[in-house]
Symmetry: C2
Subunit: 407 residues, 2 copies
């Protein structure tokens, strides 16, 4: 089947979210990604949530479509095997993606002895190599103190920095592989999780706002900043988000709710031009008061009927259960999704890549491997080891085959 | 100067965050990114926050290091020019990145008439082409109803889906360019903002948790799920985040606080094994009670002194102002940052790419262009137009040169 990154080969030695997501992003586009784990699994192998079988739904969800090899990475023979796999032959191979420290056999320098055009992608916590995780990066980002309504910090639940870091790793890997194709040179590519946060804060204008205006964005609850938008409660205990960024979206709200005349009164009332984003933001309390009453008198279904096809930019709030049960986009009706049979979990709805490329079939989602599922095949295919040699490695406890998911 | 994507050429017709961030990500790695805007700027050109000059710090921050061309995209002559720029000659060119609708002259089909190996990356709201923005995608994601402490939704302030979408676009663009280099074929690459959200929810295990366990993650305030971590108030009105994922990090907390013996009492007290992530999560209320008292009796400086070099995984909370003033990582001491002279804003601290590649200098951050700053040079260089021909286009109002940033 045609997939965009067919042929590309990546070896991953990783844990948690960012680096595994970087590898999975490439696997979902057709690359062969071999995740090497220590015997028994890495530190993320049993992270919650778990299925009743004990299998980690967290691990399974972040490692779909990869091959898995289990190697005793604490033994010299295991390190030798892993190094050989990382530096395996082929112009599309020789790429390591890792969030492990760059020491000993895993350093770019040591591995480059095996293959001088090696590409190593390494995620660290901070740019000086010190440790940090999404939570300890996020607390310094300014966002928790700009979230919610009060002076207390509110952490977002989405591991947003890990996700962004995983996607930066995918971008950096393809950039380095492009350069290698042109100049034949290997490279070490470094990314610090806290730099992902700091770059994002800067790219969104928050650093400049502090430096130029001396302004520190206060928490605004669920209000948009600089434009019109907020959540509203419905008559049946649900919530909807209503937004107007363009003038067209603003006028659509008036038309769909029948409130055009009332809303127009707010311009002179608040001395603002409601045909500007800034004017609507300044007058938002008055606008919200009118919309709040309108929403509170209607069920979600009634609001949906009024807004459907109206040009209003809105959406219902959903918890994770409502998302899975209610939202048609979160089902196989969406071509990104498929049903996979995940060992230890059973049939589950799973996303493939959100990127779709014309001229080739979209790669359907694949289950995550069992730990060590591909050990034997990978040693034979990639390193050309004989069945006898592989058997000795198993007997010596240097590698392991597929583990049961039940613990 | 050597930068990893030198030679790559991308034309961007975009607005807001995701598509501009995708283009900027590539520009920061050395690609030439030409952003084409309609005369007077696109809908994002005056978005808040603004500098006192009226220049948008939002726009400036998301378009650093690009070239800017202003063209009357509503006129046939302007569309012809833009089409020619998009399809410009060169094996590293012929790439369009856009979040505008795929209609008329901007469709992949129409543009492919000019260059059959054209790559078009197109961001839409939903996979069916209907509209959505970060706010209306996020409300359905489940996260606002899992954030904070109560049943009311709490929106995160970070436009996380836009950021992830921008990075998926950069990944997708490089993947398509790699494939074109191998097979000579152009492609349309589609990405829906809501698919970025849905894929992330699935990749983090939330969909499987609903389907396999019938579980819907409730809001836990600032507590980590499945591991130990939370915010704590200090004696001097600040907050710190303290986390333990590994056993090593857990033991470090006891050592650094001198609370090892007290914390050990919680195992038998709560009938859990404190040497497991799940055990610490289950017993977190008791653990937090002990740590809360310890933190409340100490200033941030005292806590920092106790934790520095101890192996404790922690960080202080900072608002945007504290981040810029206090955090050394957010300064030119961090090699990712530089000071740029941004027109209309003055000298500001700005991030380059968080990705660093060995074997070449890191591209220092560059300011965003003035709108239309490069119109004349781009028409001459890329389309070979004569000074006289360019003069006629200016006179006819088909293109515009650099605009003052003062409004």
């Amino acid at each position: 089947m045609s997939t965009i990154l067919n042929g590309l080969r990546v070896v991953e030695v990783s844990a948690f979210i960012a680096a595994p997501l970087g590898g999975m992003t490439l696997a979902q586009l057709g690359a062969e990604v071999i995740r090497i784990d220590p015997m028994g699994g890495n530190i993320d192998y049993r992270r919650w949530p778990l299925a009743p079988s004990g299998a980690s739904l967290y691990w399974a969800s972040l490692n779909k479509g990869k091959r898995s090899v289990a190697i005793a990475l604490d033994k010299p023979e295991g390190q030798e095997l892993a190094g050989a796999l990382i530096a395996q032959a082929g112009e599309d191979a020789g790429i390591l993606l890792t969030n492990l420290p760059a020491s000993g056999w895993m350093s770019h320098e040591a591995l480059s002895q095996r293959r001088d055009d090696l590409i190593t992608l390494r995620l660290t916590g901070n740019h000086d190599g010190s440790g940090a995780v999404d939570y300890t990066v996020n607390c310094a980002s300014g966002f928790p103190l700009a979230t919610g309504v009060g002076p207390e910090p509110v952490n977002h639940v989405l591991p947003a920095w890990d996700i962004a870091a995983g996607l930066y790793l995918a971008t950096g890997l393809l950039a380095a592989e492009r350069a290698r194709r042109l100049d034949g040179k290997g490279r070490q590519v470094s990314l610090a999780l806290s730099d992902v946060m700091l770059a994002s804060v800067g790219n969104l204008g928050y650093i400049a706002d502090v430096q130029v205006n001396g302004a520190v964005r206060p928490p605004l609850g669920n209000d948009l900043y600089g434009a019109l938008g907020r959540d509203f409660a419905t008559a049946d205990g649900r919530h909807v988000m209503i937004v107007a960024i363009s003038n067209r979206q603003w006028r659509a709200i008036g038309r769909a709710t029948g409130l055009t005349e009332k809303l127009a009164m707010i311009g002179p009332l608040m001395d603002v031009d409601l045909d500007t984003e800034g004017g609507r933001f300044t007058a938002r309390a008055a606008i919200f008061a009118v919309l709040e009453r309108w929403c509170a008198a209607r069920s979600l279904a009634e609001i949906e009927a009024a807004f459907d096809g109206s040009g209003v930019l809105w959406g219902p709030y959903r918890d994770f259960g409502q998302l899975v049960r209610e939202d048609e986009r979160c089902s196989v009706a969406n071509p990104m999704f498929g049903t996979i049979d995940q060992p230890g979990a059973g049939p589950v709805l799973a996303p493939g890549s959100p990127l779709a490329f014309s001229g080739g079939a979209r790669r359907p989602p694949l289950p995550a491997p069992l730990l060590g599922q591909d050990t034997e095949a990978v040693l034979a295919d990639k390193l050309g080891l004989s069945t006898a040699a592989i058997g000795k490695l198993f007997q010596a406890g240097i590698v392991a085959g597929p583990q049961s998911v039940a613990f």
